[in-house]
């Protein structure tokens, strides 16, 4: 009797197994990076934001907007027939951001990244996104830095950049008031300096403006008495604030309640949740905002109603709107590409697609630097006696910039200054 030895049996068995495997792979087509993502099961996306610390209030809004969009997509049949799953990570600082982003890409194999509010963390995630060729939507950091030399075709900017914010309020304020002496207060860190540079550039383009004070304030300052004294000594027409986070509202509270807000007030940014937290009576001024929930379009009213129902009657802030439309825009890109494969989604998004962002006109990505272009709102804090819907209705929309009929490029970073080159 001739027994087949194990080694003799192994070879044909191994061949059979190998054939079976390759046949299976062959059924999915040629194996390519990312191809496995279309296999089936839920589509996973990663969301990174600071949930604690001084940016924690905004982080909560950032996550809420994204989750709301995901729930909406899943509720109406999913994306490409698959459910979307959102994995949320708490990025308390840039070091943690690196770990979280890396984990999401390498361990969880997410199909897209969303989030961040701190520029420092955002830049780090953008770098990881570019190297790993994962599409990343910046939902909350404004620095021009990430839109310049370090730009990447995989990184899309939903939040406005500093030039957009500053141009919006600068063009509006210098047009509508005769005020020409400005006193500038700037937060002494990267974002503040960036805002300051853009603000000074903008003001220098307007005839007759003069900067009578230009002071750097350390972040975390809790007592502004001395700074207000110096402002009073300089007697400007308008105080221009480039402060950040809770420092903005701390200054405003003291300036308004203790000194009666003696001069016009404006600046590069005022976060709506911070303003809600300060209370309408305790703040003042004219500010730029990518979005305000009282925007009067039918699509927006419907969105706000649904959002309020799901969030204990709290309306969406600009932050929540930004992450909501980020997810919806990504979904549109995926639908057009027919796949979640990142390179194809990037191609679709950069093909001049127009997106409904609940405003009067649709938005599209700027070819130069992947900045989503839309009209910004100029908002003014309601006067003390003015009527309001509730404690969240603290602004009146003064106007939109550039506004229907004007080119959306008017408030973007000029190409000559940009430094961004996607074709490198």
């Amino acid at each position: 009797m001739h027994m087949i030895t194990r080694s003799q049996a192994m070879a044909p068995l191994a061949m059979a197994a190998a054939l079976a495997l390759t046949a299976g792979c062959g059924a999915l087509g040629q194996a390519k990076p990312g191809q496995g993502k279309d296999a089936g099961g839920p589509i996973t996306i990663g969301h990174l934001t600071p949930k604690s610390g001084f940016l924690g209030q905004l982080g909560a809004q950032d996550l809420a907007g994204a989750q709301f969009a995901v729930d909406e997509i899943n509720g109406s049949g999913g994306l490409l027939g698959r459910q979307v799953k959102l994995i949320s990570k708490d990025n308390v600082d840039p070091g943690v951001a690196v770990q979280n982003a890396t984990k999401l890409v390498e361990t969880n194999h997410v199909d897209a990244l969303f989030g961040e509010i701190s520029t420092a963390s955002g830049l780090v995630i953008a770098g990881i996104a570019d190297r790993s060729k994962t599409v990343y939507f910046n939902t909350g950091w404004n620095s021009n830095l990430g839109r310049g030399k370090n730009c990447s075709p995989y990184v899309f900017h939903i939040d406005g950049n500093n030039t957009m914010y500053v141009s919006t309020v600068g063009l509006s304020v210098t047009k509508n008031t005769k005020a020409n002496k400005y006193y500038m207060l700037t937060a002494d860190y990267a974002f503040g300096h960036d805002l300051r540079q853009e603000s000074k550039l903008l003001l220098s383009t307007v005839k007759g403006t003069q900067i009578v004070g230009d002071v750097l304030v350390p972040t975390g300052t809790s007592d502004y008495t001395t700074y207000i004294r110096r402002i009073q000594a300089a007697a400007p027409d308008t105080v221009w604030l480039n402060l950040a986070g809770s420092d903005q509202t701390t200054f405003l509270k003291q300036y308004t309640q203790e000194y009666g807000a003696p001069y016009n007030l404006t600046g590069g940014i005022l976060d709506t949740p911070g303003a809600w937290a300060a209370g309408r009576k305790n703040i003042a001024g004219v500010w730029p905002n990518p979005y305000y929930h009282k925007l009067d379009t039918p699509k927006n009213k419907e969105f706000v109603t649904r959002y309020r129902k799901a969030h204990g009657n709290v309306p969406p802030s600009a932050q929540a709107w930004q992450s909501y439309i980020a997810v919806k825009i990504w979904a549109e890109g995926v639908k057009k590409a027919g796949t979640v494969e990142d390179a194809k989604v990037v191609e679709a998004l950069r093909s001049g697609m127009e997106f409904d962002v609940l405003k009067k006109r649709p938005a599209s990505f700027r070819k130069l630097d992947n900045q989503l272009m839309y009209d910004m709102e100029v908002v003014k804090v309601k006067a003390p006696g003015e009527s309001a819907e509730d404690q969240y209705d603290i602004f009146d929309i003064v106007e939109e910039v550039p506004g229907v009929g004007q080119n959306l490029e008017a408030i973007q970073i000029p190409a000559a200054r940009s430094g961004c080159n996607m074709d490198k």
């Binding site: 949930k51 604690s52 610390g53 001084f54 924690g56 209030q57 909560a60 002494d188 002071v215 750097l216 304030v217 350390p218 972040t219 975390g220 300052t221 809790s222 007592d223 008495t225 001395t226 700074y227 004294r229 110096r230 009073q232 809770s246 509202t249 701390t250 509270k253 003291q254 309640q257 203790e258 000194y259 009666g260 949740p273 911070g274 809600w276 937290a277 300060a278 209370g279 309408r280 009576k281 305790n282 404690q391």
Partner: protein, 290 residues
Amino acid sequence: MDFLRFVLDGLVSGTLYVVIALGLSIIFGMIGIVNFAHGILYALGAYLALTVSGDVLGLPFGLTLIVAPILVGLIAMMIEVPFLRRFYGLDPALGLLFTFGLMLVGEGAIRMIWGPTGIPFGIPDFLSGSVDLGFQYSIYRLFIVGVTIAVIAGLWLFFNKTPVGLIIRAGSRDGEMVRLLGISLKPIFTLVFGIGAALAALGGVLAAPLAGVQPAMGTDVLTIAFVVVVIGGLGSFWGPVGAGLLVGVVVTLTAAYAPVFSQASMFVLMIAVLLVRPRGLFGQKWEMFE
């Protein structure tokens, strides 16, 4: 003339630092616990002030200023009895770790109860605006000066002229002797912790209209409290008073002449004091270790 005005501003703003630091110093001086929960008690003071002055009870500001700290003091005493007192006389690191844990739990609890976003708290109308006393002064800050003076006077009288106050001081200096005299120290120390917590909470209520009420508000103030207490001398009574005013002046002057360094200036001051006089400017009075 400008310089004088800035010095006066500094003294005025320093009084808030005094209130913030006093509770921390007293607790360490009398009980020997480094209270990391100080910041969260400060925050709790502000949040409870919101609750009692809002729709729940609608108390006027003056009453809120008294009721909220008392409530926090009571809550602190309820934590002290079953938990904190087990750490007395042990390695100081243990009490520190426990209070640190309290801080983390406390911040989480605040987020759960009141939400993660800030809540408006304004200066009451009758205290808003400023008044001209040669220089323009914020009425509210002058009010804080008044409250601080009243609190310091009250505490001094309590610790030096009342039987309970004297027992507290005797108990921390020589606990065994006090026990041999038939006085139980346990309720005394509970009271001290409650007083320290109430002072922290008072700081929170006073600061709330100026800096806002949000869950992370306790973390930053903890650093300031420790800096002031170290400069003044950990455990002493007059230490935080003098140091608080000094820090106020130093920070204000730096903000006036070299603003970029204003936040760092208190730490530079602390380092200088530690190098020259490690016990703190007013010496340490570790009653319990003398």
